[in-house]
Structures are given as C-alpha cells and as structure tokens.
C-alpha cells in the first residue's frame, strides 16, 4: 500500500501524466492492429482511386452510400465536445471538469475523420481544389465547407487553450535528461505560462469567449450537414425540421461517445478517482434527455409523412416499416431508443456497465439510423421504374473500418501526448470544494473527507459558542 505522503494535487499529476510516461506492450499491440486495419482501408482507397467509384456498391439509383453515412455519423459525434465543454461550462455545471479534455479531443478527431469522408466519396478527388477555387456558395456543400472549417478551427483552439497550463506543467516536470526537441516543443506550446493571476485571467477570458462562440458554430455545422439532404426533393429528405433533427441526433450520439470514451480511459489509465460514477450517471441523464428529444423528432417526422402518404413518402415508409430496410429501422428503434431508455431509467444494477451498454447501443443504432436516412430515400423510384438496391462493396466496408481505426488510433496517440484530464481545472475544482490544508490534513490522518468535514463543523460550533455567536 502506497504511503499516504503525497497531496491530492500530486496524486492528480501522477495519475494524469502516467500514460505519457509509460507505454505497455498491450498498447503497442493495439496500435499495430489499428495500423493494420488503417492500412487495409488505405489499400481499399487506392483500389478506388485506380478503378473509380465503380468499385463501390453505389450505382445510378443509390448514389450515396456508406461514405456519406460515415460523414454524418462522425460529424455527429463531434458535437460531444461542444456539448460537454461549452454548454456545461456556460451553465457552470461543476462536475464536468474531468471530462472536458476527452470531449474536446473527440470533437477534433471526429471532425477530421468526418471531413475526409466526402472527399473519399468524390468521383474526381484530383479536382478537390475546384471547391476552393470555383466554390459556389449557393450550394449546401459549400455551406458545409464554411461551417466545418470554422468548427475545426474553433475546436482546435478550444482544445488548445485549456491545454496550455497542462503543457506548462509537463514542461516544468521534464527531467534534465529530456531531449532538446521535446523541451523546445513543450516550451513553445506552453506559451510562457507561469500561472500568474494576469495570465490566468487572460486565459479564462479567452476560454469563456470560445465557449460561447463555439456553441452556435456547432449548431450550424450539423444543420448544414442536414441541408445537404433537405435541400433536395427526395422523400424522407424533403423535410423542414432536418436542421434540428440532425443537431439533436448529433448531441445524442455525441454524449454516447463521451460515455464510452470516458469509461474506457477510466479503466485503461486508472482514472477512477476523477471520473466517478457521478459523472457517468449525469451523462446518462443527459443521454436520456437527448434520447427523448430525438424520439420526439423522429415520431414527428414519420407521423407527418405517414398521415398524408404522398406517393413517394408511402413507398419510403413501406421500405422502412415492412420492406427491405425494415430490420435496420426496427433495430434502430429498439436498440437505439427503447433499450437505452430503460437502461437509464430503471436504476437496477451497477451504474457504469448500464450506461456503457446504453451508450454502445446508442452509437451502433445511430450509425444504423444514418444509414436508414441516407439509403432508403435513394431507393424509392422517382419515375416509373423499380426500387433501387444497394450492397456496399468490400471497398466501402474497408474504408469504413479504416476510418474507425484511424479515429481510435489518433485517440490512442493523443493519449500519449497530452493528459486526458485537464489537470489544472480539476485541481482548481478540488481547491474550491475543499480548502487544501484541511484536505491534506485529512489524508495524512487517514480520515475520509466527510469525517474531516464533521470535525471541522464541530470545532467551528465550539468556537462560535465560546465567542457567544449563534
């Protein structure tokens, strides 16, 4: 048993910086596997470059497939960071601090991977520069470019700003034998941080501005992603509520992603002291709120089209409810809406496994839901011909697997480069909750925080009585 000689802040540093210091064989093996999958995905992409999009399963009727599904999915996940970091910061929810760093990381990585997907989907990727030079801003795709560029920049800034004190900490903790390059990089990135009140003030101000700014940008991102679909005349896409529908869906899958990432890293890097059941439970409640909102919007969508049954909408509903896409649709309903709701509401059994299962189910179901949004609307015939069919080819599956592998890989690498918990914010939080001397005293004496508090209360009461103050 480790001697209780270190303070709370020292323990925080040790736990948070541990992954950066040590790399186990398990980790190396994991990275190798991810690299292999990513490599196979790259090979599939090369095949596609050589032969054209004929190597996919898309043809003239179902013109968009897994690539756009992945695009919507990853951009959806990216709303994780914004919600947890920015909204919770703005609403001053105190429990958020250990989670913010991971959430911001999810945002940046998800946007990067998601933004690649439409480029992979292009028939002429060699002409991608046309978008930059000849971009036509009356098109929803260009609104995408505007929005995603702004969001990526904003998220990078928003990830970097709270990272500055932590990098300064790492810079200060570097041993004498650290390489020159490492020292240089940390010094540059730490921007001369010396934790003076003036510097803290500036940083807080900057973070505050970003927190408020990034929320409308995030809302606009998934709104314009939805506009790529709802600016067309297809059944199921020709809807006026697509903007908010996609944004709520993004928040929904984003929260689920945070839960998964959080619990995973908690387990792998032993962050149990900082990411507690309370965090997981609170995120679970947020998940439930998002689920109910998404359910409300989904019901609205299908009810309003199902009540009127215009010809093409009727074909679409037939496809979804009883036709070829029915298994996927019902999978989404049951695994994405019903079961997670029960898992959160019914408080039987340990919290964390329940929430993780709910989150995993939600993420899988939301991927399936994006499939159900994109493909069936393209299968419905627009002229008197047959329904279209779509079977993704090995190229599409491989690139999808590669995208997920890349996503996880970048996370794995980032976990080795930056601390997963925002050390200075958590430290600040702890100082705010318990005055440091008492906490340390309590630790040294082996008492639990509640016992220390009770002692302090008693002491204070005695003093007040002695001074005649009620």
């Amino acid at each position: 048993m480790r001697a209780r000689t270190e303070s709370a802040s020292q323990r925080l540093e040790r736990v948070a910086l541990n992954p950066l210091a040590r790399t186990g064989t398990g980790y190396r093996l994991f990275v190798l596997v991810l690299l292999a999958v990513l490599g196979w995905g790259a090979y599939a992409f090369v095949t596609q470059l050589r032969w054209g999009l004929v190597s996919t399963g898309m043809r003239d009727q179902v013109i968009w497939g897994l690539y756009l599904v992945n695009f919507v999915f990853f951009i959806g996940i990216s709303h994780a960071g914004t919600l947890v970091s920015a909204i919770l910061r703005v609403t001053q929810a105190g429990w958020r601090t250990p989670v913010t760093r991971m959430a911001e990381m999810i945002t940046v990585v998800a946007i990067s991977v998601g933004a690649l997907m439409p480029i992979i989907d292009l028939g002429r990727p060699d002409r991608v520069w046309h978008i930059v030079v000849f971009g036509r801003f009356q098109s929803p795709l260009l609104w995408d470019i505007l929005s995603i560029t702004s969001y990526l920049t904003g998220s990078l800034i928003y990830l970097y700003l709270p990272l500055i004190p932590d990098i300064a900490l790492m810079r200060d903790r570097l041993g004498r034998d650290a390489s020159v390059i490492k020292r240089r990089v940390y010094t540059l990135l730490a921007v001369g941080w010396r934790n003076t009140p003036e510097q803290r003030h500036r940083l807080e101000k900057a973070i505050g501005i970003m927190a408020v700014t990034i929320i409308p940008i995030a809302v606009s991102v998934h709104t314009v992603v939805s506009y790529v679909f709802s600016m067309t005349l297809r059944p199921g896409w020709d809807s006026t509520v697509f903007g908010i529908y996609f944004v709520i869906g993004a928040i929904f899958s984003g929260i689920a992603s945070i839960i998964i990432v959080m619990v995973l890293f908690r387990k792998i890097f032993h962050l149990e002291a900082y990411i507690t059941e309370r965090h997981v439970r609170n995120l679970g409640y947020l998940l439930l709120v998002a689920l109910l909102l998404y359910l409300y919007l989904t019901v609205g969508e299908y009810l309003t089209t199902g009540y009127k049954l215009q010809v093409e909408d009727k074909h679409l509903l037939e496809l979804l409810l009883t036709g070829a896409n029915a298994p996927w649709f019902w999978l989404f309903v049951i695994a994405g809406m019903v079961i997670p709701a029960f898992l959160v509401i019914v408080r039987r059994g340990p919290v964390i496994p329940r929430m993780v299962v709910a989150a995993v189910l939600v993420n899988v179901a939301m991927w399936v839901k994006r499939f159900v949004i994109v493909i069936p609307s393209l299968q419905v015939p627009l002229m008197p011909f047959d329904f279209g069919t779509y079977r993704p080819s090995w190229v599409e599956w491989s690139i999808t697997a590669g995208a997920f592998a890349g996503f996880i890989l970048i996370f794995a690498i980032l976990a080795k480069l930056i601390p997963l918990i925002s050390i200075w914010e958590v430290a600040e939080d702890e100082q705010r909750r318990e005055p440091a001397p008492l906490a340390e005293a309590g630790e040294r004496s082996g008492l639990r925080p509640e016992e220390v508090e009770a002692l302090v209360e008693t002491a204070l009461r005695e003093r007040r009585r002695g001074q005649g103050v009620r």
Binding site: R136, T187, L188, M210
Partner: protein
C-alpha cells in the same frame, strides 16, 4: 220553305263567316306569333339578302361548327325543327325576327341554347341565311369559284419586327372586277424552322370593298412568306421580320422583390457569364442581388466568427510575460496561429464575395 235567294244569302254569309274565322284565326296566329317576339328582337330583318352566297357560306361555316350536333348536317335531324322541309324558307322570310330571337335567346325548355354571346349578330343572320338555302329550291349550292373566276391580291409591308403588329390586306375581286363581299380569307405564314412549314395567322372577312384586313403580331422572325388564301386561290408576299430588341419569353424561377430593384430576388441562380466556348462560369467579383444580398449577411457572420478567433488568439499572444524563455520565443505558436486565422478567415470571406455565382436569367 226557304226560297233560293234566301239559301244563297245564307251560304254566302256562312262562307264569309267561315272565311272570316279562318282569316281571323290565321291573323290571330300570325299576330300571336308576332307578339311572342319580345323587344329588342321584334321586327328585326335580315341585313343580308336571303340568297347572298357569301353570307350563306359564312353561315354554313358557323352552322357546321355550332349546330350540326343537334340539327344534323342537312338540318333535318330534329323533326320539330326541320330546316330542310319545303316551305321553311318562306317562314324565314316572313318571320325573320322570330327565328333570330330563337337563335339568340334559345329555347331552354326544348334544349336549344342561347347563342347571343357566342355568335355575333352578323353571324346569327348568316346562319339563318344558310338555313334559308337548305329548304329553298332556288338556292344554289355553295359554288367553288374556279380559279379564273376569283382574283386575290395580298399587300403587306416588306419589313416588320417581331412583337410589332403587321397589317395584311387581301383584296378579292370577281371575274368582272367587282369586289367579293363577305368572303372569309385565310392568312398563313410560311417559314423555315428546321423544316419548311406554315403557321396559320388568322382569318378575316372581306368588307364592302372586297378587302379583308388582318392585324397580326408575329413572334417569329426571319424571312417569311405571308400567304392569303380564299378557296383555291392564294397570294403571297415575302416579309422580312426582324428580331425584337427584347425577348418575349422570360424564364422565371424565384421570388421577385420588385420594390428593391430588379436584381434583388429570392431564388436560385444560374449562369450569367459563361466561360470561353461555353464552359462553366468562372470566378468574378459580384454581389448577387445587389447591396441587399444574402451573401453579405453570410460574409458578415463568417467574418464575425473568425474575428472572434482572432481576438481569442490575440489574448493567447498576450499571455507570455517576456517573449523569451531560454532561447525559444514563446510567442511563436500564437503568432503562427493568428496568421493562419487571418489568412483562412480573409480567404473564406473573399471566396464568398468572388465565387463562381450564377444567375438563371442569362441575357434576359
């Protein structure tokens, strides 16, 4: 015993009485019939002579269009109104106002519609003139004049402009030079549109001087052969119709906001300036919709966002106390980030204002 004289007197009185009754009743019927015709139709007479061939032909056309459905081609389909019956023409001559009234106001109870709105007065008289010919033994059939019998001459301006009315006059003369009145002349334009063809321009009836005048506003342009035809004779004039200054057809797509000027509208946009050889529109500085363009709002929003990034990174730039730490300039990273934000932000706003926009109303 009544004497011979008395018997003769009684017979004379009886026959006179009978005659009188018959005559009276006949008069009464006639008067009754006559008194049925309400004003303004009472007492009207046919302006055309009953045997006028031109009026008859015009009336035949009207009859074939409007009357054969019920009355049949020979006018004998309805027994109650059999125009081909002998003696019908005399009734027409005696009570023209009655028949004119029937045609004009109809007989709703018997299913005869009123034609006062769909046929003009001359047309209704022409129909009656034709009906006269159906029963009159003396009425000749509609004669097709031989080419040698009729002469037609068309006059038209040699130059015209699409969109401006052109007046065409066709003169009809008979064999002996007298004008043919009341004849319907067909006008047509012969032109080339991927193939030779003919567009009907309309019909006009010759007046008392034998001239049929038609005012026609062409939409087509080019070298056109205008033709006037009557029965089997025709006359042509070559007219060069110049193109109009402004096109007639304006494709519309979008919602115009007229009060704010022609350029301002809500809607889709397409090519205004094509690239060379008809390739896609290039890049140019243009604010679609003028000063109230939606683009300016978007550009302002984007500029605001990137200005916020600038402000934030500027705060970061101010964090280092002293620029150096060891031998590294600690303001390097924020300076680079600031430069990137400025460049990317300015570039995005620039692209918004200079994109390859398009306007669907090319040239119109």
């Amino acid at each position: 015993m009544i004497g011979m004289r008395r018997r003769l007197v009684m017979a004379a009185v009886a026959s006179a009485a009978l005659l009188g009754v018959a005559g009276l009743s006949w008069l009464a019927t006639a008067a009754h019939a006559q008194s049925q015709v309400p004003p303004p139709y009472a007492g009207v007479k046919n302006p055309f002579p009953w045997d006028n061939p031109a009026a008859r032909d015009a009336g035949k056309r009207v009859y074939q269009q409007s009357c054969t459905g019920c009355h049949g081609a020979a006018g004998s389909a309805l027994p109650a109104a059999d125009f081909s019956q002998a003696g019908f023409h005399q009734r027409l001559e005696t009570e023209p106002d009655y028949f004119f009234w029937v045609v004009s106001e109809g007989r709703p109870a018997q299913g005869m519609p009123a034609f006062r709105s769909s046929l003009s007065e001359p047309q209704r008289w022409q129909v009656l003139t034709y009906l006269w010919s159906l029963s009159s033994p003396a009425a000749p059939g509609a004669e097709t004049p031989h080419p040698g019998d009729v002469f037609i001459a068309l006059t038209a301006p040699q130059e015209g402009t699409a969109g401006q009315p052109i007046v065409l006059k066709a003169v009809l003369r008979g064999k002996d030079g007298q004008p043919i009145v009341g004849a319907a002349v067909d006008f047509a334009a012969r032109l080339y549109f991927f193939t030779d063809g003919s567009i009907p321009m309309g019909e006009a009836v010759t007046d008392e001087t034998g001239v049929a005048a038609l005012t026609y506003t062409p939409r087509f342009s080019g070298d056109v052969l205008m033709a006037a035809r009557y029965e089997t004779v025709e006359s042509t004039v070559r007219v060069n119709v110049a193109e109009a200054e402004q096109p007639f057809y304006h494709p519309e797509a979008g919602i115009q906001l007229p009060a704010l000027g022609k350029e301002v509208f809500i809607g889709p946009e397409s090519a205004r300036t094509l690239g060379p050889l008809g390739f896609a529109p290039g890049v140019s500085f243009r604010l679609p919709g003028g000063a109230l363009s939606w683009l300016l709002i978007v550009a302002a929003a984007v500029a605001l966002v990137w200005a916020t990034y600038f402000r934030v990174l500027y705060q970061v730039l101010r964090i280092p106390i002293g620029s150096q730490m060891g031998d590294t300039d600690t303001r390097l990273v924020p300076a680079i980030a600031l430069a990137v934000v400025i460049i990317v932000g300015a570039f995005l706003v620039l692209k918004l204002l200079t994109g390859s926009y398009s306007h669907f109303n090319l040239g119109h």
